[in-house]
Amino acid sequence: MSTVDLVGLDAFLRLVGDDLGLDVEGGAGADLALADVPGWDSLNLLRLVALLEESGHHVPVHRLLEAQSLRDIHTLVKEYG
């Protein structure tokens, strides 16, 4: 599967917005605690794991589960490529 370019925070938030149906585009949701992201529920982290795999990014699951915000997750995506 071709890897989706998620180096830019905007591209990452757009993917999250499109595929998880969350309104986080525009950067406003990036630093919120995940639980405070509008529409967030406990399944969204698992959805994000699947979504990142599908888009060609392999971030260790335990690191994703420890992330506090979407910006944290984006940092991990950049770190692991």
């Binding site: 998880l20 149906g21 399944l43 982290l45 698992l46 699951v61």
Partner: protein, 629 residues
């Protein structure tokens, strides 16, 4: 290419997803990569943000399926693919999710959230940990055997305690347990113990009609690992996404079947669908369904189709061909598995296929939403999708080796259980054709009815008829007076309830036995009967059977010393034909006790049993179980 998923994303961005929910099934039915499983989960993810209340305010008739989900591990992940799969069939998911690991309490606590949600389906997702959590830290196959026996006993008890139809699953055995035994003899023993446990779990469905057990083995065999080790370890997700996607598809088919939305007739194209080659161009010698590599693939598809037909799926043909030539090929081409007698209708002509499908449905007394259409030509499929969007379309392509899998992928004909009536259905529909010939040869409708020699037998059902009653009530749309139906478990509940009963009608005529064709659900209170619902199979309509059945019910009520019989007609999308049944049998419309509560157009009726309607003269009626209950 724009996929269905892209179109849904676009609708969501424009804030139109709730308003356009009635288009979602159509959008997802479009061909292209939209049918792949990963995409269905993505569709479900996208739809997760939907407000079901808003969908219903725009489209109040949207069928809602309430599904409670619980299990051994983190099982909420199944909701996305399930939501997507249900959306493909126009259904809307209302989900109730239990806490992880609390399935025993979830299923058995009558005051708990899962019970109070009154779900249609309760999914209890089990995995290998359900057994292994009871096994000591250092173990042998015997320890697993003992733990599995405990789990089995628990599952058997849950089957009766769970709300709605309980869905269990077989447990895949992870490689990582098997390989912890280093000798082959012990591994074999563990494998045998495990399979015996799964087999007993599957056999729970023979003991009680309540649970459904989904066999995960065929889904695992189809591909995808059972689990992702990291998600299993850190997030307690022990059933992986590909497996849950396959499982969700099965559950959606089950939900559809329990709503009675099972399709009844498979309409097939011929050239490049049932055989290799084009009859009109190459003649009978130029087509093949055996003898060549490609031909054998078509032969295998025909064999699969015949297997479906043996269980009551009606077969028909819609093909652009010369009818005489098609008749000749179906009669004597040496390659064919299917013959003319296997089809209840063969429409070979040059007319548009949507018109042909409508004609086939009309001749069989079916709605077009009972049809599945399989064709290799994208143009023909598009034409049918456009003209008859309610027909399910199976996209075959130029690779006949995939025809079988494509036909079976959507479980269009799945039912909770099969009855002898199902197996005999193709013969009954051929008898329908013979009746039509008799009608055409009779001078008047009355002469035809007299010549038909209709016999009707009514009375309480036999114990073995519960499955057939459930099926009749769930699959009857037109003569379903109050909407809804009874699952097999509900039929069993009625049988155990002193205040309620089911009475049934069986019908035959000179062309054959139609079996159980009518059912009435009756509540008795304060010296009156109330007909909670009445179902008559559309196969016997037009012969006065519905009037005869009702007349017998009324006379039975009077004989039992009752003072009146109440009834109601609740309009649905399909039962307008039955609207006048109660008035035509002498029932009088009455005010509903609380006007305004039934904004759905419900009509209530009462019959005072003073003047009973007559039984149509051409029908010979016998009654069983005459003694009062």
């Amino acid at each position: 290419m724009t996929t269905g998923l892209d179109q849904l994303r676009d609708l969501r961005k424009r804030g139109l997803l709730e308003k356009a929910y009635d288009q979602v099934a159509g959008v997802l039915a479009q061909e292209g990569p939209g049918g792949a499983r990963a995409d269905t989960a993505a569709v479900g993810r996208l739809l997760a943000g939907l407000d079901p209340g808003a969908v219903l305010s725009h489209h109040p008739a949207t069928p809602v399926v309430t599904v409670a989900v619980t299990g051994q591990s983190t099982v909420g992940q199944v909701l996305d693919p399930l939501r997507g799969e249900l959306a493909r069939h126009g259904l809307l998911l209302r989900a109730v999710l239990g806490e992880h690991g609390t399935y025993l309490r979830d299923l058995t606590d009558p005051a708990g959230e899962l019970h109070t949600a009154a779900p249609d389906l309760t999914l209890c997702l089990l995995d290998a940990e359900t057994v292994f959590e009871q096994v000591p830290g250092v173990w042998r196959p015997e320890d697993v055997e003992a733990a599995a026996a405990d789990v089995l006993a628990r599952c058997a008890a849950l089957a009766d305690a769970a709300p709605g139809t309980l869905v269990l699953n077989t447990l895949p055995l992870p490689w990582t347990y098997s390989r912890q035994l280093i000798d082959h003899r012990s591994r074999a023993r563990l494998g045998a113990v495990w399979r015996e446990f799964n087999a007993r779990l599957l056999r729970l469905t023979e003991r009680s009609p309540a649970p459904v057990v989904i066999d995960l083995d065929p889904l695992v065999a189809e591909g995808g690992p059972v689990t992702d080790p990291a998600l299993a370890r850190y997030a307690k997700v022990r059933l992986g996404a590909p497996l849950l996607a396959g499982y969700a598809r099965e559950v959606a088919h089950l939900a559809r079947a329990l709503r009675g939305a099972t399709r009844k007739c498979l309409v097939l194209d011929l050239d490049h669908t049932l055989w290799d080659g084009v009859l009109a161009e190459e003649g009978p010698d130029g087509i093949a369904a055996a003898g060549t590599l490609r031909g054998e693939a078509f032969g295998a598809f025909q064999t699969c189709v015949r297997q479906l037909a043996s269980q009551g799926v009606l077969l028909a043909v819609s093909s652009k061909n010369d009818p005489a030539e098609v008749a000749r090929v179906l009669a004597d081409h040496p390659d064919l598995v299917l013959r003319e007698g296997d089809f209840v209708a063969v429409n070979a002509n040059w007319d548009p296929k949507d018109g042909n499908l409508a004609d086939i449905a009309r001749r069989l007394d079916l709605g077009t939403d009972a049809l599945v259409f399989a064709d290799d030509s994208p143009a023909e499929r598009a034409q049918v999708r456009h003209g008859l969007p309610e027909v399910a379309v199976v996209p075959l392509d130029g690779e006949p080796a995939t025809h079988v899998a494509r036909l079976l992928a959507d479980g269009w004909f799945d039912v909770p259980s099969l009855t002898e009536e199902d197996r005999a259905r193709n013969g009954q529909y051929r008898a329908l054709g013979e009746r039509r010939k008799l009608r055409e040869g009779s001078g008047s409708h009355e002469e035809f009815l007299r010549a038909l020699d209709v016999r009707l037998e009514t009375g309480p059902p036999q114990p073995h008829e519960a499955a057939r009653i459930a099926q009749l009530t769930l699959r009857t749309n037109q003569f379903n007076l109050a909407g809804g139906g009874l699952t097999e478990a509900a039929v069993a509940e009625v049988a155990a309830d002193a205040g309620r009963q089911v009475l049934v009608a069986r019908c035959s005529d000179r062309f054959g036995d139609n079996g159980l064709v009518g059912a009435a659900l009756i509540t008795e209170a304060a010296g009156q009967w109330h007909l909670d619902n009445l179902w008559i199979s559309c196969r016997v309509l037009g012969r006065g059977v519905e009037h005869a059945f009702l007349a017998v019910l009324l006379s039975r009520a009077r004989r039992h010393g009752l003072t009146a019989v109440g009834a109601r007609h609740v309009p649905t999308a399909r039962n307008h034909r039955a609207r006048d049944l109660y008035p035509s049998c002498g029932f009088v419309a009455r005010e509903l006790p609380e006007p305004g509560e039934h904004g759905d157009g419900t009509s209530a009726y009462l019959h005072d049993l003073l003047v009973l309607p007559g039984i149509p003269g051409h029908i010979c009626v016998t009654e069983s179980g005459k003694a009062p209950r």
